[in-house]
């Protein structure tokens, strides 16, 4: 009996002791992950915060479908390769912005802005970390914030309204859109300028930092920002030239052969300025999304992007870029270690985008992501190449009444084309179309800023082969996409802001009227 009494007594005592320290009992520290208080202390923290800026690299809603659908599909170079209403609505300029393939573009970009601001707010005050490390992080933050504003401006901003400006001092996030996209382009430019000052050249980066921002990427995007802003502010043309000069001061030799630009070996080659780093784990799914639907039973291609016959026929005779960019029936190519001749039962135009197919040439798919639902490859998808710098400078010079021949001919020469003299904007237009077919922010945005609505409205053609499994089959030319007479340059050059962004803005973010 006694021992039970002692036991009960013991329990009562424990109870009293426990009761008196409940507040201590209730204090719980988060474990398993750092918290705001424990972060931004070391160099590793700085590196990891910088890495987090690049969340969109592996996000197909931006760099897979996402922006590629908005940029490539609406042009006269491509049609929707297979029936997908979301994409067809984009092609026909009737999208509402709520489609799952594109609705995350806006919020993801602002996540990048938030992360950049976190770095800008925290990194300068860290003790015990070298200035080089800090400057690199700050440069990356400015660059990525600039890139976010540039891309959002291009997709959603025009002279009716720009993109709300958020910087590291912003605390109230209910902000109206500025009166013109020029405001947000200028903000992007300001960020690129700061980034360029802080960042090292790519050649000075250690391989472990490959994929992160560097000086010439900042200058090249500064040029591109001004190129687009020049439509609204002609003072920008000179700034394009200045920025391009800054790039070519340290990087001037193009990759000698155009087709080699799109090879895994040249991911970080002469031509590289900026790309979406990719590997067999993640990165851009564009190569898989543009590959033949079901990949001739070898790999899960999605077949979204079908080049038009109009694009194919636009190449001048002898332009090496045509065959490096496109495959038509009968063309030989390497596929899973074998040479095959192109045919397709599924492609609506009878033409395949070849630019990103090098990763599929190797046996056993060794450079491919094993997950066919996330078809990335070891090929980095280029977003900014050195040839763009030459073509931007050529265009700016011509716009300012100067001579752009030298820059233009550097690009033409590599394409196997003869040099021209007294180049005009028309020559620039040809070069840009031939050079950047199937690349992000090329043809569609160019046609819009040049005001070439006719090209965007016209009906588009493809080839209908008699026997779709025979590479030598004859074909008839047919209208693969009807005329888009509804296209209104003033409204349709920009895309609808995702409705949930509008809904959560308390009425401050106004939709692009369509």
């Amino acid at each position: 009996m006694k021992k039970y009494k002692y036991l009960s007594f013991l329990i009562l005592v424990t109870l009293v002791v426990f009761t008196s320290c409940t507040d201590e009992f209730l204090e719980v520290e988060p474990q398993g992950a750092p918290t705001a208080a424990s972060f931004f202390k070391t160099e590793t923290d700085v590196t990891r915060a910088t890495n987090a800026l690049y969340l969109m690299n592996d996000f197909q809603g931006t760099y897979g479908r996402g922006m590629f659908l908005y940029s490539i599909i609406p042009s006269d170079d491509f049609v929707v390769g297979k029936s997908k209403s979301q994409i067809e609505q984009i092609k026909d300029f009737v999208t509402t912005g709520s489609g799952s393939y594109t609705r995350d573009i806006w919020p993801k970009h602002f996540q990048v802005v938030k992360r950049a601001n976190d770095i800008l707010n925290n990194v300068p005050d860290i003790e015990g970390v070298s200035d080089d490390v800090k400057n690199f992080a700050l440069g990356n933050a400015y660059f990525m914030r600039g890139l976010a504003y540039f891309q959002l401006s291009l997709l959603y901003g025009d002279d009716r309204a720009g993109i709300p400006i958020v910087d590291e001092t912003t605390t109230d996030f209910y902000i109206s859109r500025p009166e013109s996209v020029t405001v947000s382009y200028e903000y992007a430019a300001e960020n690129f300028t700061k980034a360029a000052a802080l960042l090292p050249l790519f050649s000075d980066l250690s391989p472990s930092d490959y994929g992160k921002a560097h000086k010439n990427a900042a200058y090249a995007y500064l040029a591109k920002t001004h190129l687009h802003n020049a439509e609204f502010d002609s003072a920008s043309w000179q700034k394009v030239i200045d920025a391009c000069n800054a790039v070519t001061a340290t990087q001037e030799v193009l990759e000698p052969n155009f087709k080699d630009v799109f090879k895994i070996d040249n991911n970080w080659g002469n031509e590289y300025i900026w790309s979406i780093p990719s590997n067999t784990t993640g990165g851009s799914i564009l190569p898989g999304a543009s590959l033949e639907n079901k990949g001739w039973s070898k790999y899960n291609g999605w077949g979204y992007f079908a080049p038009t016959l109009d694009l194919y026929e636009s190449y001048q005779a002898g332009d090496l870029r045509r065959d490096a960019t496109l495959l038509v029936f009968g063309d030989a190519f390497e596929f899973f270690g074998e040479t095959r001749r192109y045919w397709s039962t599924k492609n609506l135009t009878g033409i395949q985008l070849k630019k990103y197919m090098e990763p599929y040439s190797y046996p056993n798919g060794e450079h491919l992501n094993g997950n066919g639902d996330h078809p990335t490859t070891d090929l980095n998808v280029p977003l900014m190449r050195l040839s763009a710098v030459y073509l931007m400078r050529a265009e700016a010079k011509i716009a300012l009444g100067q001579n752009g021949d030298t820059d233009l001919n550097i690009v033409r020469e590599r394409a196997g084309l003869p040099a021209i003299t007294a180049a005009t904007l028309a020559h620039v237009k040809y070069e840009r179309r031939a050079e950047f077919a199937g690349e992000l922010f090329g043809r569609f945005e160019d046609l819009c800023r040049w005001g070439d609505s006719a090209e965007l409205k016209q009906s588009l053609r493809g080839r209908q082969h008699d026997d779709q499994e025979d590479p030598d089959s004859g074909f008839t030319i047919y209208e693969v996409w009807p005329e888009r007479s509804n296209f209104d340059l003033l409204k349709h050059r920009v895309w609808p802001i995702p409705p949930n962004v509008i809904d959560s803005s308390l009425g401050l973010i106004k939709q692009n009227e369509r």
């Binding site: 009992f25 209730l26 719980v28 705001a36 990048v112 709300p164 958020v166 079901k294 094993g370 639902d373």
Partner: protein, 1127 residues
């Protein structure tokens, strides 16, 4: 001791004072609750079986087994007189009456436990002689008989009284009795605790056999409340008890609650064998996590699924006044479970087994090859587009060969097996109960299953008259494999992955295997995006064992009379292991694999709680009954989770699929959380003369999730009751009980919140940069909210209980208003803030109003007895306030394909449909012209007409209107059970009304491409689409481009989900007792036998907030089984 009795000739009366107190109890609950209960009326029951034993020995025995003390003078009591007595569960008066029948000894009970034995003459002089029951010696007619229960089990200890007199007897061990009566007109009143009392006129009979029927509404029924028990009579809150669990061959506890209890809505998550139905008590109270709190044998339970075989009772605490003693975790109601306990006596061995088969109830029908090509040709014609050669049966005759019915291929008959064994028993000091159960269910889709192994052990040990300790232990192991049946995948790809939809869409002219013997290419040619339905199912290779180990140790200490201290420690450890292998499969249609992958996830969760309570019960002046409770508890929860993805295994031999053998390790994740809760609580229950009832409780909870200044919150409650039927002015022969109840209380909810909402951990993300694999990024991808606070739910309840005489008719009615204040809601933040998920904020208010009725009727007529019970609940749910600055918040989580049809808005039910309104099909040219002029420029015959609500000439999101929600406004159940001789029969119907589903299943299988059609096969609904040859069709035309937007989210896809289901029908037969067993019942049961509904989808019970993606349908099951109790 013995020799003390033998001392004779002492002049002073020998007062026996040995206080060898022992406690036994009649109640089946061997837990704390039983102790409480037995203190309420202090009725200890005794079981005696003595043959030719001396009175002194009998007295010794009684003292040994009970708290009774005998006080007597040896002169007046013949201690050596030999008696034979056989009594089961008799009360002390019955025992004493029989012991001292026809002797000169009289007895008197003082202070409940003191029995004073006196000489009759003394007793006659004493003023408390009215307690004495005397049985006269007059020569009388003798009648005898047996008393059995409704399963023909004898009822020992049943009381038989002669109406209008105090004479009577009790039945013996075999349920037999004999009694002498002085008049042939006498009426016998036969009663037994828990059974309906019967009155039987003797009418000159000499043998009377009585069958008593369980009284489902007995007023002395003991009802569990939080930390205690009351009798039904004393109840003031709104509490419901689930009955008939054992008879229904259910495999999950939740199923037993469906339709069985008013105010409780059980939504089955389709027929997926691995899923668990969702329980909603009194409507949707909040927008996120909301689960009832389970209390098993008195402790908060976070363990594995409970085997229905182990359950003794299920009690649902519905109103806040009943639940608030559980404070923070009780906002969604509390479910109290008691498991079966051992009883004193011989060891009882029970077996239960059933096996059955389940089938799909209503299999979808896809088009055959001819219909498939016909409908595609129509679609192309409708779109003014040249027909494709592919769909030309003449040039492509292979298209018309019917090779595979894919729907038939993915469904099968699934076998259900269930085996249970229970072992229960005990002695005076020790009782135990143990059981082992195994259940295996094969799903109706191939390669899906679930199995469960469960073990339970509990015991109680009386260390002394003051101390009792006990334990509960359970272990469950579950495993299973399911298939994805929705329409939404992780990557946002939406229209081709649900397996049932895939089987409808797969081309019927393609065989399952190609000529090389591998899964054929179903996606070839123009068949659209289709996965191989059979291959996808057969490839599922998941091993996902979840183990739960639960243990609870408690100690009860009774330092003084009427006061009980209890301390209880419970711990649950659940560990889950998930291993999925994704092979490189030789399958022509699944060519996207260049490698294989092993995903391995491990999760560990530990929950412990320590509770200490003091309970004091007393009654003053025979009228004022008090029950006081005070308690304190600590709870702790921690969960650890790690995952790893390994790729590139050279060999796919299952024996070689281990992480070290992978070439690449890609994704390592880890997370940990911990939270704690401290609670103080107390309650007073009071009644005056069982007429006026009052109870009040308060609980103070402190949670580690909240900041210090908001951490503590008080949850009060108060309840009153008035038993009108006890009032003298209210006497009625018809009414045995009429009580009015009212209660109010508050409970809290912070289950929605993560462990650290005020100090969010940073997220570790995988990013791709230069180089192989991932690199780590770290970011604060949310916003900590230091102001976050408790969500408070407040319920006011008015109730009425009514019983007619003998409980023939019973009615319980409750009306409640339940308000959720400071609703924890993820209100949208500005996209410009750049955080991944909106933080929780306390904003808004939700109101549920409802009426619940439960009616029961019992009737006995000779061999035939029946019981009819029904319940119905009406619930109205409404968002009263949303968030500052928001009138409508679209739900951007719940979707089907690319449709997000739900939104929350003030004045509407939670998760309402918010859609464009449609107005039928355009069937005339005039209608088309009109539509073209009013916002539908591309309209054609056979398109849908939409309503331009704002008359702006455009059909767009601004034209959306609210169109109800999925949650039913009425749910009901009807149960009829009957016994005739040894047969029993029961039928159970259940249904709901007022719910609406968004039939995305029909949408995505009839118009799979969202531009209408794009090559894949279609559901047979496609035959009922408009085309010039079918102008009266109900559905819009098929096309290949859908220029009119027929497929956009509109109310055309909404359908009522009202249904009435024959949920269960059983027939059983109980075999006569044999030398080998006490009881053997064999039965046949059908579940989900028939469903009456107008809903055209697979099943009217749609989960996913009513957005139907063609989920796993509920199966129809037929089982055969038996329950056996060994001799």
């Amino acid at each position: 001791m013995k020799n003390l009795h033998e001392i004779k000739g002492k002049t002073l009366p020998f007062i026996k004072f040995d206080l060898k107190m022992k406690l036994t109890t009649l109640f089946v609950f061997a837990t704390f609750f039983s102790v409480l209960a037995s203190n309420i009326g202090y009725t200890q029951s005794l079981t005696l079986e003595e043959e030719n034993t001396s009175i002194v020995k009998v007295i010794d025995k009684i003292e040994a087994m009970s708290d009774y003390k005998f006080i007597y003078n040896t002169r007046f009591v013949d201690l050596n007189r030999k008696v034979s007595i056989k009594l089961i569960d008799a009360n002390i008066e019955q025992v004493l009456t029989i012991l001292f029948m026809n002797t000169s000894t009289a007895y008197q009970i003082e202070r409940e436990t003191q029995i004073i034995l006196k000489h009759k003459k003394d007793a006659d002089r004493s003023k408390s002689s009215n307690k004495t029951v005397t049985v006269t010696n007059k020569q009388q007619n003798k009648i005898s008989g047996t008393v059995n229960d409704d399963t023909d089990q004898p009822l020992p200890g049943a009381t038989i009284l002669i109406k209008g007199s105090s004479a009577g007897t009790t039945t013996d061990f075999d349920g037999k009795f004999s009694l002498e009566i002085d008049s042939d007109d006498a009426i016998l009143v036969v009663s037994y605790i828990g059974f309906a009392t019967q009155e039987i006129p003797v009418n000159g009979q000499t043998e009377i056999n009585v069958q008593l029927v369980v009284d489902s509404a007995a007023l002395d029924e003991v009802i569990l409340i939080g930390y205690g028990t009351v009798t039904k009579k004393e109840l003031t809150g709104s509490i419901a008890i689930a009955k008939n669990i054992e008879d229904r061959a259910v495999t999950q506890v939740e199923e037993a609650l469906q339709g069985n209890v008013s105010g409780v809505t059980v939504l089955s998550d389709g027929g997926d064998p691995t899923s668990t139905p969702t329980i909603k008590i009194r409507g949707l109270g909040t927008s996120s996590a909301e689960k009832p709190l389970w209390i098993v044998d008195g402790v908060p339970y976070y363990g594995g699924p409970i085997n229905p075989f182990d359950i003794e009772s299920l009690t649902v605490l519905k109103d806040a006044a009943s639940a608030s003693i559980y404070g923070v975790r009780a906002a969604a109601g509390v479910i109290l479970v008691t498991t079966k306990k051992g009883k004193q006596g011989k060891i009882q061995v029970d077996f239960g087994a059933f096996t059955g088969v389940q089938n799909v109830y209503d299999k979808p029908v896809a088009l055959n090859t001819q219909q498939y090509t016909d409908m595609y040709n129509i679609a192309y014609d409708n779109s003014d587009t040249p027909r494709l050669d592919y769909f030309d049966g003449v040039s492509n005759p292979d298209r018309l060969v019917q090779r595979t019915n894919w729907v038939d291929e993915i469904f099968r008959s699934g076998i259900i097996q269930n085996y249970d064994i229970g072992l229960r028993g005990g002695s005076e000091k020790y009782t135990f109960s143990s059981s082992l159960g195994y259940n295996k269910k094969e799903g109706i889709l191939i390669n899906t299953y679930a199995d469960r192994l469960s073990f339970r052990y509990n015991s109680a040990l009386k260390l002394s008259d003051k101390i009792k300790i006990g334990e509960n232990f359970s272990y469950t192991l579950i495993n299973g494999q399911s298939a994805f049946t929705g329409t939404q995948a992780d990557n946002g790809e939406t229209n081709y992955n649900g397996i049932i939809a895939a089987a409808i869409k797969a081309p019927p002219h393609v065989s399952i295997y190609n000529s090389e013997g591998v899964y054929s290419d179903v996606g070839d040619g123009q068949n659209g995006d289709v996965i191989h339905p059979v291959g996808t199912l057969e490839r599922i290779n998941i091993d996902n064992p979840k183990r739960n180990t639960f243990g609870n140790l408690f100690l009860e200490y009774k330092p003084i009379d009427k006061l009980i201290f209890k301390t209880s420690y419970a711990i649950n450890h659940s560990d889950e292991f998930y291993k999925e292998f994704d092979p490189r499969v030789a399958e022509a249609s699944k060519l996207n694999k260049a490698t294989n992958k092993l995903t391995q996830i491990q999760a560990n969760e530990i929950n412990w709680s320590w509770e200490n309570t003091l309970n004091y019960t007393n009654t003053f002046n025979d009228a004022h009954a008090f029950q006081l409770l005070g308690g304190y508890s600590l709870q702790h929860q921690e969960r650890e989770f790690d995952g790893i993805v390994a790729e590139k295994f050279e060999s796919e031999d299952p024996l070689l699929l281990f992480i070290p053998l992978a070439e690449e390790i890609n994704d390592i994740t880890y997370s940990f959380f911990e939270n704690k809760l401290v609670s103080f609580f107390s309650r007073v229950l009071y009644d005056y003369n069982k007429k006026y009832f009052f109870s009040a409780s308060i609980r103070r909870d402190g949670s580690s999730k909240l900041n210090q200044d908001r951490r503590w919150e008080n949850f009060p409650s108060v309840a009153v009751g008035w038993s009108l039927s006890e009032e003298t002015f209210f006497k009625s022969d018809f009414i045995s009980n009429l009580k009015l109840r009212a209660s109010w209380g508050r409970v809290g909810n912070i289950e929605s919140l993560s462990s650290y909402p005020t100090n969010l951990p940073l997220s570790v993300e995988n990013t791709i940069l230069g180089g192989k694999g991932y690199q780590k990024g770290v970011v604060l991808d949310g916003r900590s909210n230091p102001d976050i606070n408790w969500e408070i739910s407040e319920t006011t309840n008015f109730g009425l209980d009514f019983s007619s005489e003998n409980n023939k008719w019973n009615l319980t009615a409750d009306y409640f208003i339940k308000d959720t204040n400071r609703w924890l809601n993820r209100t949208p933040v500005s996209s410009l803030e750049g955080i991944g998920t909106s933080p929780f904020q306390n904003s808004g208010k939700i109101r549920n109003k409802g009426l619940e009725l439960a009616l029961g009727h019992t009737k006995n007529e000779g061999d035939f007895t029946y019981n009819l019970s029904g319940n119905v609940s009406f619930i109205k749910n409404e968002v009263i306030e949303l968030a500052p600055r928001f009138d409508i918040i679209a739900d951007d989580i719940t979707q089907v394909a690319t449709h997000y049809p739900l939104a929350n808005a003030v004045g509407q039910p939670l998760f309402s449909y918010y859609l464009i309104e449609s107005d039928g099909l355009l069937r005339t040219d005039a209608a088309v012209t009109n539509a073209r002029a009013n916002g539908q420029p591309d309209a054609q015959l056979g398109d849908l007409r939409f309503i331009d609500q704002n008359n702006d000439g455009v059909i767009d999101d601004d034209d959306r209107v609210f169109k109800g929600s999925a949650f039913p406004t009425v749910s009901y159940g009807l149960n009829f059970s009957a016994n005739y001789k040894k047969f029993d029969f029961s039928i159970f119907l259940q249904g709901t009304q007022g719910g609406v589903a968004y039939n995305g299943y029909k949408l995505t299988t009839t118009y799979p491409a969202h531009t209408s059609v794009s090559g894949s096969n279609l559901l047979d609904t496609a035959l009922d689409t408009w085309h010039p040859g079918n102008p009266n069709a109900s559905n819009p035309r098929l096309s290949i481009d859908d220029p009119n937007g027929n497929i956009q989210p509109s109310d055309f896809w909404l359908e009522d989900t009202d249904y009435l289901r024959l949920k269960n029908i059983s027939v059983g037969y109980t075999l006569p007792k044999s030398p080998y067993f006490d009881k053997l019942r064999i039965y046949a049961t059908g579940q989900n036998v028939l469903t009456w509904t107008n809903y055209s989808g697979l099943d009217p019970e749609v989960s996913n907030r009513g957005v139907d993606g063609g989920q796993y349908p509920v199966a129809r099951t037929f089982t055969l089984g038996f329950n056996l109790t060994l001799k």
